[in-house]
């Protein structure tokens, strides 16, 4: 799976409360959640999120178990999140809803907001097309790649029931 998009850069410890503030968790339509994605720290996110690739520092998605966090990002048009590391529950939730997540230590330093990135999910190879720099993300295990490719765990559960 190849993904191309523009980098949207954030720092360390981006938590679920800023990804989708609690007061919006009563909303049930994913498109409504998406309108408030990253609102806690970046009101301009939703204007640039279509086909965006979020590039973040350490511990992305720390905090609550709210699946509304990766849902808001997915429905905002975000194609993928590449972080130095992820918080545990967010990482699982993102994969479960079919939002690709990659861990890459080296990318962050060499990327600027708005850079055009191209990545191959299977190999973990990331190309910064704007700056002509390559980075290597950790390769995802096959079962996780498969979950992302079929669009998440629900599709797996549906298959298992057929």
């Amino acid at each position: 799976m190849n993904i191309i998009g523009k980098a949207i850069k954030y720092g360390d410890d981006i938590n679920t409360d800023v990804i989708i503030p609690s007061r919006y968790l009563v909303l049930t339509d994913p498109r409504d959640l998406a309108k408030h994605a990253m609102e806690g720290i970046d009101h301009s996110f939703i204007k640039k999120s279509k086909d965006g690739i979020v590039v973040a520092g350490k511990n992305f998605g720390c905090g609550s178990s709210r699946e509304q966090a990766p849902i808001a990002l997915k429905y905002s048009g975000t194609r993928c999140i590449i972080a130095k590391s992820f918080a545990r529950i967010f990482y699982r939730n993102a994969i479960n809803i079919g939002l690709p997540v990659l861990e890459c230590e080296s990318l962050w330093d060499s990327v600027q907001d708005g850079d055009q990135l191209s990545l191959d999910l299977k190999s973990g190879n990331i190309k910064n097309l704007t700056r002509n720099i390559s980075s290597q993300a950790q390769v995802l295990p096959d079962f996780i790649l498969e979950l992302i490719e079929i669009g998440g765990l629900l599709n797996n559960l549906k298959r298992a029931r057929v």
Partner: protein, 420 residues
């Protein structure tokens, strides 16, 4: 093996497991609240499931938004209520029946030592206090549990936290955990377990153990755990649940590393805006003016917490410059506090007491902060906007620090407070 490894071995039907291995475990109990549960219910229908895997092992609790403060919240409650009825799930805690999920899970003995428990709420790690392996998961993973009763886990590495010494007056388990957060940082235990050991932990009540296990997620941890002892057995007996097996770490169990701590000289700590590991001595930030003080939550809304607060508030009034909100964590605690006269003390001091709910902690229901406001809170997170406006600020501290600070209207070290 350590206790977490033993529990995961047992639940996955294996002789032994190693850190990093993926195991598929049978789930002993699964809990959802209205914020995460409505998604699970939607997904449950989407995958074409008709019946939950085991209606006796599912607990559904309304807590984040009770009583409903908006039509949207009321709709979520309705989804939960109808699903519980349709599936015959008896452990459904409606408005007025339970309180904050993690407190209810323990009080109503839905959790036992040695169990594998998952909850669609990150503070599910609380139940390590009685020696269960419990962890927070998302709504989709919970759909897998609702339909199959099983879930995969990566066996975590475990950090041993060995704590010795005696707390000074008005220094409490919350201060101990803030110390741990300062040392480990907000991602210092990412994907790992924390096993709490040592004389301080053995002397600590179940309430206190719940506080420290509750906050394990704030350093990225997957689960916290305390070895069951006579206090655990007494607690389980009082909850009329004595059918369980105890898993203890072997003397030669392996750990990722060991953290040695003493609480003899521990002073009251405060986690400053806007990260849980931004920890300072209360004495270093004394004098910060407070618009609101909040005492409650799954971290610090238990009877032991309320007793300390009442001891400090008795005969005193809340400063004119601030407002104090107190929320008992459950209906049971509320009733105990009422019978012990604590609620009367709170009201006479000028505090407002609300029904058990996550409420102010979660910043989506009641007790929210306006822009520019500063709150001292006994809760677990001080992220930007956690309790309301992104322009508000939250300091985290113990119930003792919170109560004394409510009287002065400024952040105040409780150890200098003279109680009656």
């Amino acid at each position: 093996m350590n206790a977490i490894e033993k529990i995961l071995s047992r639940a996955s039907g294996r002789e032994n497991v190693l850190p990093g291995e993926i195991v598929e475990a049978n789930i002993d109990c699964a809990m959802v609240n209205e914020i995460t549960g409505h998604l699970t219910i939607k997904y449950f229908h989407e995958v074409g499931a008709k019946e939950v895997w085991n209606k006796e092992k599912i607990v559904m609790i309304l807590d984040h938004t009770i009583p409903a403060g908006s039509v949207e919240a009321a709709e979520l409650h309705k989804i939960m209520r109808e699903f519980a009825r349709e599936q015959g799930i008896r452990a459904f805690y409606d408005v007025g029946r339970g309180g904050i999920s993690h407190q209810v899970m323990m009080e109503k003995a839905h959790v036992k030592p040695g169990d594998v428990v998952v909850g669609a709420d990150s503070h599910t790690c609380t139940y390590g206090a009685i020696g269960a392996f419990s962890t927070g998961i998302g709504s989709t993973d919970m759909t897998a549990v609702f339909t199959t009763g099983r879930l995969w886990f990566k066996v975590p590495k475990v950090i041993k936290v060995n704590v010795r010494g005696d707390f000074r007056k008005f220094v409490v388990p919350k201060d101990l955990f803030l110390k741990i957060a300062k040392i480990l940082g907000v991602s210092g235990a990412n994907y790992m377990g924390l096993e709490f050991k040592g004389s301080t932990i053995r002397d600590m009540s179940i309430d206190g153990r719940m506080t420290i296990c509750n906050m394990v997620i704030e350093v990225g941890g997957k689960a916290g755990i305390v070895e069951p002892d006579e206090k655990t057995l007494a607690y389980m007996k009082s909850r009329k649940n004595d059918r369980f097996s105890i898993m203890r770490s072997d003397p030669d169990a392996e750990y990722e590393r060991t953290l040695e701590l003493s609480v003899d000289d521990l002073q009251p700590l405060v986690s400053c805006p806007s990260a849980v590991d931004n920890v300072k001595l209360v004495s270093e930030v004394e004098g910060v003016e407070l618009d609101q003080v909040f005492i409650g939550s799954c971290t610090n809304g238990r009877i032991e917490d309320l007793r300390i607060v009442a001891k400090i508030l008795k005969g005193n009034v809340v400063s004119d410059r601030t407002r104090l909100i107190i929320i008992p964590a459950s209906q049971e605690i509320y009733l105990d506090a009422l019978r012990e006269g604590l609620i009367e003390t709170f009201l006479l001091s000028g505090a407002t007491v609300t029904n058990p709910t996550c409420g102010a902690c979660y910043g989506g229901h009641i007790g929210m902060l306006a822009s520019g406001e500063v709150c001292l809170s006994t809760t677990n997170r001080n992220f930007i906007g956690r309790m309301g406006s992104p322009k508000s600020k939250v300091y985290l501290a113990s119930p003792a620090t919170a109560a004394v600070s409510a009287i002065t209207g400024r952040i105040t070290d409780p150890t200098s407070f003279k109680s009656g």
